[in-house]
Symmetry: C2
Subunit: 227 residues, 2 copies
DNA sequence: AAGTGGTCTAGACCACTCG
DNA sequence: GAGTGGTCTAGACCACTTA
């Protein structure tokens, strides 16, 4: 019911009409609108704020900056992260990339490399990300533009390309570090790394990002809640 | 409101009173009861079944047998698992165990080792679990009794000790296989393994299990949904 | 004070299950 | 057909935010 509207009518961060207005517009009662909004809020599509209104979820909100980052320090300390872009190239999709992004092999793809840094005594690089994005949307991405950004990648993607990341699926494995990752993460070649493969979806379950993250889990870990 | 009741009044798998009965009992309307039940169902404490009733969640239900197991085959195939108990010893809690289970170092603890097997061509052992349980609850656990069981561990714990696992926190790291794990999982010593540390909680956020799972992620992976 | 979401009510009707 | 959860209504009142 409201899903179709959520896809275009109100931009990220915008306030949607009040429950009473929506009820009148759709010819249902306020309680019904309320329930629909509740469901979308449970899916992190909307954010309610009492006394203010209901807003379209956005990665530009500091509260949601690291919504998809499940990394925490082993000793419980919380440090700010910094993303360091390394490369940004325009290539043709390999079979694997095409399958993940539901493209044809050979289609235009933007591939991006970056490390995640945690501030602190040693300031080590903890994550190396290889990111693949469909070229038809992200074709104008360049390393220079990224290097001038302080915000999170998803925040940038949202501002520049209007792509809101809604949900993601991750697959985790333990693998030996290859030479490239070992050099960037400053670990011996062959050292165990946590490989986090992520496919990120936007509205309509369209995959818009494939990401392979190499995590050095010596001082950090991936956390998860099960219920 | 209903939480206090959920802790003892109705057993696992039992049907709770109808929404109308509960409304009368607490002097609120059916809609309010409904909302409370909705919230508990969202936390997997209750299970609703239209036309039948609302039931207390249980690990004995086939639908929930592997609620906490986030392991899937890389090729998408689904195979039944088999748990092979290896040892069951009564020991004194080390510092690490005591902290995880909120006990004092030296308190009685039951430690259990088992592998998880996936049926199939090769029938390999994919997971080695080291499980630590508070001795005051699980003191009567023995290897012999476990070996005669076909059900999941949590299902057994629920039947034998009345302990329902409600939620869990997991921390994941990549580590090199030690000699013990390498032998049981049939991988070279030092091969990368996924270490999944889990603390499992029962009602009242009481930790009742600490588990260290060593996952061989060559043909399987840990999956997760982010939203 | 006006507008927002948050909670609750009392009742209606529907969809599903089972004897 | 009786009993269950599933959905919806129209309205009341409360808590929070902002001007």
């Amino acid at each position: 019911m409201l899903r179709a509207l959520g896809e275009g009518e109100w931009g990220p961060g915008a306030m949607i009409p009040s429950e009473a207005d929506l009820a009148a517009r759709f010819g249902v009662s306020q309680g019904t609108v309320r329930k629909a909004i509740d469901e979308m809020a449970a899916e992190n599509l909307l954010v309610r704020r009492q006394g203010k209104g209901t807003f379209v979820a956005t990665h530009n909100d500091p509260r949601a900056f690291y919504r998809f980052l499940r990394l925490a320090s082993n000793d419980g300390s919380v440090r700010p992260t910094r993303s360091v872009p390394l490369s940004c190239r325009h290539v043709a999709a390999t079979e694997a990339v095409a399958q993940a992004l539901r493209l044809q092999a050979g289609d235009a793809v933007v591939t991006l490399e970056r490390t995640l840094n945690f501030a602190g005594e040693n300031g080590e690089h903890v994550v190396l990300d290889e990111i693949f994005l469909p070229g038809d949307i992200f074709g104008s991405l360049t390393l220079e533009r990224l290097q001038q950004e302080e915000r999170s990648l998803y925040s940038v993607f949202e501002s520049w390309f209007g792509v809101r990341m809604i949900r993601a699926e991750e697959r985790l494995r333990a693998i030996p570090a290859n030479a490239h990752a070992a050099a960037l993460l400053v670990v011996p070649e062959g050292a165990p790394l946590l490989l986090v493969e992520r496919i990120t979806y936007t509205y309509g379950d369209r995959p818009v990002e494939w990401r392979r993250g190499f995590y050095n889990t010596e001082h950090y870990h991936y956390f998860n809640e099960l219920s």
